[in-house]
């Protein structure tokens, strides 16, 4: 079956969410990935929302991470401190972030563009819960379209921590041991991070793209895994569930 970049990214993301794991998601693609995983491979994936909804039976895609859908037939309608403290305690495996810029250590900017904080060229909403989730969940993932301005070696603002300056700098700053960016899923490739240096490292290339495409659309030098896989394209079943059950109105996959 044909598919678009968003569908590919959601399907690839979903494959990373194993059964019995916990994940805090926002609205949009991350929520779609979690719903897809739950319907296909991981019936016991526990989906949480930062405003307090825990393990809902999602009837439709939420518009807000605090709307009624996020605790529809949930096992708990709790609070923001409850969810954030569950993350801080080490009970949450995954989260997804978005952002305007990302660097080679997986640091993310969702606050502003420009060089003067007081007079930004462009102001975005800010962290919301992104910094918290990136700080406290075990593994952070990101789905994003890849281009050389977005993937940059010089963020205008580090909103949410990746591996900061690489190596052990993240943990030396006081962030919890063992946490950090895990997968960056783009329209072109899937990246992880080098175990030692924490530098972004390509793991697999998506159908239709080359090494050159991936590097040309990145503002910093990428590292390459010893063996670069081909990203498996969405299966028919993935696409069918995604289109028919997860996002029938194409709110996300129609973008």
């Amino acid at each position: 079956m044909e598919y678009n970049a968003m569908e590919l990214m959601i399907c690839v993301a979903a494959r990373n969410l194993e059964d019995g794991a916990t994940v805090v998601v926002g609205t949009g693609a991350p929520c779609a990935a979690a719903m897809l995983a739950q319907k296909l491979y991981s019936p016991n994936l526990c989906i949480m929302f930062e405003a307090g909804g825990v393990a809902p039976i999602l009837p439709t895609m939420p518009i807000s991470v605090g709307d009624s859908r996020t605790f529809h037939k949930a096992i708990m309608a709790s609070s923001m401190p409850e969810v954030m403290e569950t993350c801080q305690r080490g009970m949450v495996d995954y989260t997804f972030l978005g952002g305007a810029q990302i660097d080679m250590y997986g640091n993310i900017n969702s606050t502003m563009i420009g060089d003067d904080y007081e007079k930004p060229k462009v102001r975005f909403p800010g962290s919301g819960g992104a910094n918290d989730l990136a700080s406290l969940c075990w593994r952070t993932m990101m789905m994003t379209v890849q281009d050389a301005r977005r993937f940059t070696d010089k963020l205008d603002f580090i909103t949410s921590p990746g591996y900061l300056q690489g190596g052990r700098s993240r943990y030396e700053a006081g962030l919890p041991e063992g946490t950090g960016p895990y997968r960056i899923i783009t329209n072109m490739a899937v990246m992880g991070f080098d175990e030692e240096t924490k530098w972004m490292t390509v793991l697999s290339i998506n159908p239709g793209y080359s090494r050159k495409d991936v590097q040309d659309n990145c503002g910093f030098e990428l590292k390459w895994a010893k063996k670069i896989e081909d990203t498996k394209p969405p299966t028919d079943e993935e696409l069918r569930i995604l289109r028919e059950e997860v996002d029938p109105h194409r709110y996300i996959i129609g973008r």
């Binding site: 923001m80 401190p81 801080q88 462009v122 919301g128 819960g129 918290d132 700080s135 949410s160 919890p176």
Partner: protein
């Protein structure tokens, strides 16, 4: 010797966010206020106009309950705009429509930011963005959990709480947090200063006339907000009998002594979502985003929807009244009644 001095100098260099702390975290100052706050269980029914006139003064630091456009006290937010309150400080804790309205009314001049300007999946507010990019609103940067924990510290009656977020980022650098070291483990923490707002408005499902409240669905940070704030107004979908509160004391999530005024405002979260009651009016929220593109159109819209009407129900009627609420209730209940 010089070495040893240097070492201890190093240790004493506190790493600090560089922006302004808009509120006083001193728990003894807060206690002095709370000592004189009435804890008498007396009837507190009031109305929107009086509450906004008497409980908020220009320059106060305010906070709004709920999350985004969910369970928000719209009547109070509109009245703040209508009474043209100015120079307010604001706790921007995933505030979406509330921030948008207050910025449209030019009420805010400083803001603790976790999430502003955006309306989540709906897009960004052009007017709020213009206001923030112009620099006319002074910002200090935080995160959702940071503001939650700052309210929790205040609710607990302490001046700070140690947390493991924001460390190492520009979010920290542009905050007013500090880095501290755990006396037991030597680990680094962000110290989040307590946030005691001057005023908070919270919309709940049910309250008695004394201010004992029940909330259904996600509670966000509202229970801590009610405790942390010096003055609190509750708007409620329904006033319920006091005996009903006593029948199930487990359900009370905000006790009467936190509350200064109670107002019954059915449909009070419109155009936001009220869990188990009605969904958000997405069309109306889109209209806000559309008219904001042109400042003149926004001014006309504000005149029509807020300044030019007497109260929240005039506004609700302008936008479809009870018929609209029936539709939003059907959406909330997942009833297909096209």
């Amino acid at each position: 010797m010089a070495m040893s001095v240097h070492d201890s100098d190093m240790k004493e260099t506190m790493v600090s966010g560089k922006n302004e702390l808009f509120t006083d975290p001193d728990p003894d100052h807060a206690r002095a206020f709370f000592r004189n706050k009435s804890r008498s269980m007396k009837a507190k029914l009031s109305n929107v106009k009086d509450v906004v006139r008497d409980m908020i003064k220009d320059g106060d630091y305010i906070a709004i309950g709920g999350f985004g456009a969910n369970r928000i006290p719209t009547a109070i937010i509109h009245e703040i705009v209508r009474q043209r309150k100015k120079h307010l400080g604001f706790a921007g804790h995933t505030s979406t429509h509330d921030f948008q309205v207050l910025v449209a009314g030019d009420c805010i001049d400083r803001c603790d930011v976790a999430y502003i300007i955006g309306l989540e999946a709906r897009g960004l507010s052009p007017n709020a963005r213009r206001a923030v990019e112009s620099g006319k609103i002074k910002l200090t940067e935080w995160t959702n959990a940071s503001l939650s924990w700052r309210l929790k510290a205040a609710a607990m009656g302490i001046s700070f709480i140690p947390t493991r977020n924001i460390l190492g980022t520009d979010t920290f650098a542009q905050s007013a947090a500090k880095v501290i070291t755990c006396p037991f483990t030597g680990k680094k923490y962000a110290a989040m200063p307590a946030l005691f707002p001057d005023f908070a408005a919270i919309h709940v499902h049910e309250a008695d006339i004394y201010g004992n409240c029940r909330v259904y669905g996600a509670s966000v940070s509202d229970f801590d907000l009610a405790k942390a704030s010096k003055r609190v107004v509750i708007t409620a979908e329904r006033i319920i009998p006091h005996d009903e509160i006593r029948r199930e004391p487990e359900k009370t999530v905000i006790p009467f002594w936190c509350v200064d005024a109670v107002i019954e405002v059915p449909y009070g979260s419109y155009p936001g979502n009220m869990p188990y009651e009605y969904f958000s009016d997405e069309e109306h929220l889109k209209t806000w985003l559309r008219v904001e593109k042109d400042p003149k159109e926004l001014e006309k819209f504000l005149q029509e929807q807020i300044y030019g009407v007497d109260n929240f129900y005039d506004y609700l009627n302008l936008n479809g009244g009870i018929e609209k609420m029936k539709k939003l209730r059907a959406i909330e209940y997942l009833i297909n009644n096209k």
